[in-house]
Amino acid sequence: MASRTRGWVAIAAVVAAGVVLTLVVQERYHHRVLTLVFLWAAMGLAWNIISGYAGQISFGHQVFFGIGAYVTVLLVVKTGLTPWIGMGLAVAVAVLAAVLIGLPTFRLGGIYFGLATLAYPLIFRIVMDWLGYQEVAIPMIRERPGWFMQFTEPRSFDLLALGVLAATLVLSRLIETSRLGYRLRAVKENEQAAEAMGVDAFRAKMAAYVLSAVPAAVVGAVYIHAILFIVTPDAVFGLLVISQTLVVALVGGIGTLWGPLIGAAVMVPVSEVLDSTVGDRLPGIQGVVYGAALMLIMIYAPEGLYWRVHQLIRSRAARGAAASRPAIVAAGGDAAVASAPTGGVLLEVRDVCKAFIGLQALSDVGFDVREREILGVIGPNGAGKTTLFNVLNGFLVPDRGEVHLRGERVTGLRPSALCRRGLGRTFQVVRTFPRLSVLENVMVGAFVHARAVGRARAVAVTALAQVGLEDRADDVPGGLTTLELRLMELARCLATAPRLVLLDEPLAGLSSDGVDVMIAMIRRVRGSGVTVVIIEHTMQALLRLADRLIVLDQGRRLAEGAPGEVTRNPAVIEAYLGKRWLARMGRPAC
């Protein structure tokens, strides 16, 4: 709890420092620099919401900056509306633009998203040219200048800019500490895992994008009134705006409040000083400095100065910490082993088919999963086991066939929807959210059913205790052993309160002690009422664990039954070792 309030205290301190600077600074020129620092920090923070927290690097954020500038000024010029209200309308337009741009663009993956964001400002430039607004000047208004944001006292602009910065800081902090903030970071770190943990990635990204447009539009409006006075398409939609935003956010530190503050405090004065001292003899010096800054940061500290320093401090501290940790011991006995699975059918799979180019991965696969059983899915390489899981989990849509969960048809739902209905999953290679702590990783799962951060934290703590990881709550996943990672993933899955979990090779890469611990844990999970379906190759271990086995071979269901029976089934032996082995060995005894 202390760190939560510490964040707010720090923000208040920064704002207070800003006020002090405003009062102390004398020269008009220095006030201009101060205003610029505040404004660019706010712009960097706005960009940070979509590109830092959500990890969707946008190269076109100046669209909202420009909308803020143009709408406000045009309203003053055409209707005489005060920019104080005009700003609000500009924000509304920016929000609308964010929705219209975001809807199609977030469906694009990878590099296409970045490329698309490059196009939008260019389009706006053309539109403004076409509408004839190549140069719109703010008219000088002598009566009631304050009403039109035309202050004579430079301190007023400073305070206005500081106000914008303060509001953006508050907005950022609110997002950071909310459910949306956790979800955004999960999406950024590992979108697929986030989906499997119930996060609707598209909705989260849209929310972040819209929220990031608001401060950007406000900054644009204030910038025009405080600094530029004349709006041209190039000045507000141009490359230099996004470059400056990128520099401020990237140099300072991406994905954190303090990054843009540091970036603006360092880079803006440097560039302004250079511009005023040598700018006449060397036009473009600003661009050179910004470009060089971007390159140096990408090479030496791609996350920004804040994280670099953070990393250095952390690694020094970690070296000092004790190397020994209590080993996780297998929970005392299997005394809590539940009796044979009771109850009816939880999951029904019928005639599922899935083909890829040149490969029929699954053909007419059908089976039932009964409540509270541990069902093992086995089969030789290429049998289609992971494809089956991907279909059950929602990452793939089957070509034919149906899946019913508790009687409800769930075929084709996306993973986050399935997770909300009680179907959880872990992955073959553990997919963590690397920069969240262990506890925060698990909290992402908890947010499926918990609205408030406090409640989610409580659920997460319980889940961690269930798997024996309470001591590691504040560590980062990078420092965990394979066993601990798998347990963390299990805890995260349990935090989503599932009825059924799909475990994809949970025993892979574990030592024999680790396997024992994991087996005991899975039994405990079943004991608490959760049904388990598990893919495994470590046959010896699976035979101890599973109630029933299903064998897949070349995409078809080959056999089903008790473990002892199945492994002696000649068809199964043939699938694994070949017809000739079977012929050589005859019907094996035992």
Partner: protein, 235 residues
Amino acid sequence: MLSISGLGVTYGGLRALTGVSLEVREGEFVTLVGPNGAGKTTLLKAISGTVTAAEGRVAYRGRDLGRMRASERAALGIAHVPEGRRVFATLSVMENLELGSYRRAARAHRAQALETVLELFPLLRARRAQLAGSLSGGEQQMLALGRGLMAQPDLLLLDEPSQGLGPRIVEQIFETIDRIRRERRLTILLVEQRVVEALELCDRGYVLETGRVVLDGGREALLADTRVQRAYLGG
């Protein structure tokens, strides 16, 4: 020729191999079998250099390969025919084969090698202008084999050539491997899931299970050993 001792590899955050030691002598045909997830592919990758070992040593002709990159190891005469074939889909069959002899030592004899390979795989001659991506699985496997042979290697690493192929093609492939073995003086390390076909070709074999060598021996001994089945199906 190839000597591996105490190899330990972590791959994808998981412990894939622990304490693996094996040997392949000049001119031998060694088979490595084991179930899915045993670490067979990781072992081959550690030899050809796309994966670095956390512990242990891989020595080729007495020389510790250490941190040598994959392209450098290929230049030494190690040819790796990867799992899933990995032919260059956007290049033609002919171009794939020509690339096989990229390493300097093989370039001089390219024309000759090409003739031999096309004679071994007449089907490739028929399809030489076709894009490799349009071939069937079995044809791609032959292309991958041919590409590997074009390097005129001293050590040939074969990773699950039967994977994803139908029984008749698999038979053809194994026949061809046998023929290659008989007609040239190559040292071969074959990794497979299909036990009998793979063991029948070899001089000696190893069985890998969850990252460790659990069994090794001569051909006949392994073929008669029921413990091999246990590695796959427990019990």
